[in-house]
């Protein structure tokens, strides 16, 4: 079932694989940063589907798992920099949950690169665009997850 690196490159070249990336963005920092990228007319790949939450600490591991089950090739969780969380320690929870979930998912056969945690502040429009572009490229090379193909 798993493709070799060469087979994956071939597959992507033939089919023009477009990764589907779900991104959870916290209202106060990263969503604002994403918005700034937009108003600044920065160009970045369209593969990311943004979902706004109040705080990155709201992102239940179950949301991330469901995203993978429903076709996401990667999930990004974006929050305020440590120390800057609007709710003081919401992102403390995120910074512990995401690594633990990554390790768990790796044991389930989901490569750790597919779940990424990034801190993006409201003023970091450039960073947001750069992170999304890099992530899209990384996942394009990794290939589709196709979890639903398991059933």
């Amino acid at each position: 079932m798993a493709m070799t690196a060469t087979e994956k490159d071939q597959h992507n070249a033939e089919h023009g694989f477009q990764p589907r990336i779900v991104a959870f963005l916290c209202t106060w920092c990263s969503y604002a940063g994403a918005d700034l990228a937009g108003t600044s007319r920065l160009q970045y790949p369209e593969n990311m589907m943004p979902i706004r939450v109040m705080c990155s600490g709201r992102v239940d591991p179950e949301f991330i798992i469901r995203a993978f089950m429903e076709g996401a090739d990667a999930v990004g969780v974006f929050g305020c920099h440590p120390g800057d969380c609007h709710y003081i320690n919401g992102n403390h929870k995120t910074m512990a949950r995401i690594p633990l979930l990554k390790k768990t998912l790796e044991q389930m056969g989901i490569e750790p690169e597919r779940l990424q945690l990034h801190w993006v502040s409201a003023s970091e429009g450039n960073k947001f665009a750069k992170v999304v572009a890099e992530m899209t490229d990384e996942i394009r090379k990794l290939g589709p997850l196709n979890w639903a193909g398991e059933e």
Binding site: P99, Q107, E150
Partner: protein
């Protein structure tokens, strides 16, 4: 005197419950657990006739096949479904019973046999029949589903790729969770069934609707975790929440009803009663809980702390892998 022959259907004379019990992919502990009700088994015998229980009495599959549909009043089905025989009997017992109860963690969630879902089936067969350190199988002989003997063809059930909870194979009326369910809860459930005092179909019975933390005798001091210990690495400080001490405990993500029997023996909860009311995925729930209990605002330290947990998937999905959202590891 009541007529006990299957298939005669003289319901009025035979007022006792017609009870069936079956054992699929499981360890047999649930059968023992039923016996753990002790002398109450005599009371059970007053209220029920056992019509099928391969572990204990000598009825055969053909006796069940001969029964009319819905003939059995209650069937306690323990074990997960991992081969064609178990799938067949699950469907058979579903057809022949009015009330089908998923009994124990394996029927509820796949249980310990469900851990096979971390591997492709082929890998498991290779390991057991060829690759294991004490195995000598130079000719690569593996079990076959059919084999021609001089006397005729013999068959073995076919293994499925994935271990499944009972509810993924047939419709389940009630579930009694636990590995095994406690004798206390088994008796309460039997009484509820005999008295017809059951909640809506699809419910969990024989358990509470809070988390194990609610039944746990230890103090919660609201102290954040400084580091993690495996259970053998630390003698716990008495009377204090094990999770706060750094010993991974599934209590916050596990349904109550067991009276926190493991905690009362100074061992952390392992999650055998399954997720709490309303939660779907036990692993996701405990990750969320543990993530909020760390003592750090530094992401490198958080990463280091989280890496101290060895085998998170096996620990968090120890009983529930088969019923988790992902259900199995990618093949």
């Amino acid at each position: 005197m009541a007529d006990e022959t299957p298939g005669t259907g003289n319901g009025e004379l035979n007022a006792k419950l017609k009870l069936g019990l079956y054992w699929a992919s499981s360890c047999g502990g649930c059968e023992i657990a039923i016996l753990e009700i002790g002398d109450k088994i005599l009371t059970l015998a007053e209220h029920a006739d056992i019509m099928f229980w391969p572990c204990v009495v000598d009825f055969k599959y053909k006796d069940v096949e001969a029964m009319p549909d819905d003939f059995l009043d209650v069937v306690f089905f323990n074990g997960g479904i991992r081969n064609s025989e178990e799938e067949h009997v699950a469907n058979l017992l579903r057809a022949k019973s009015k009330t089908l109860v998923a009994f124990g963690a394996c029927a509820h969630m796949g249980g310990i046999p469900g851990l096979a879902n971390f591997y492709p089936l082929n890998d498991l067969l290779e390991k057991v029949y060829r690759g294991g350190p004490s195995i000598e199988n130079p000719d690569g002989i593996f079990p076959q589903t059919t084999y021609q003997m001089p006397e005729g063809e013999i068959e073995l059930p076919e293994l499925h790729e994935t271990v499944k909870p009972l509810s993924k194979v047939v419709e389940v009326d009630y579930t009694i969770p636990g590995c095994p369910p406690t004798a206390d809860q088994i008796w309460k459930s039997i009484l509820a069934i005999v008295e017809g005092n059951l909640p809506a179909k699809g419910s969990i019975i024989g358990a509470g609707n809070k988390s194990v933390c609610d039944e746990c005798p230890f103090d919660k001091k609201d102290i954040k975790i400084q580091r993690f210990y495996r259970p053998q690495e630390k003698v716990p400080e008495p009377g204090w929440c094990l999770l706060e001490q750094g010993i991974v405990c599934m209590g916050p993500a596990t349904r109550s009803g067991c009276d926190a029997r493991c905690l009362k023996a100074n061992m952390p909860c392992r999650g055998c009663y399954g997720p709490v009311e309303g939660a779907t995925d036990q692993g996701a729930a405990i990750i969320a809980a543990i993530g909020s209990l760390l003592d750090t605002g530094d992401d490198e330290e958080a990463l280091r702390l989280m890496n101290e947990i060895v085998d998170p998937a096996g620990t968090f999905y120890r009983f529930s892998l088969g019923a988790s959202l992902l259900g199995r590891a990618k093949k």
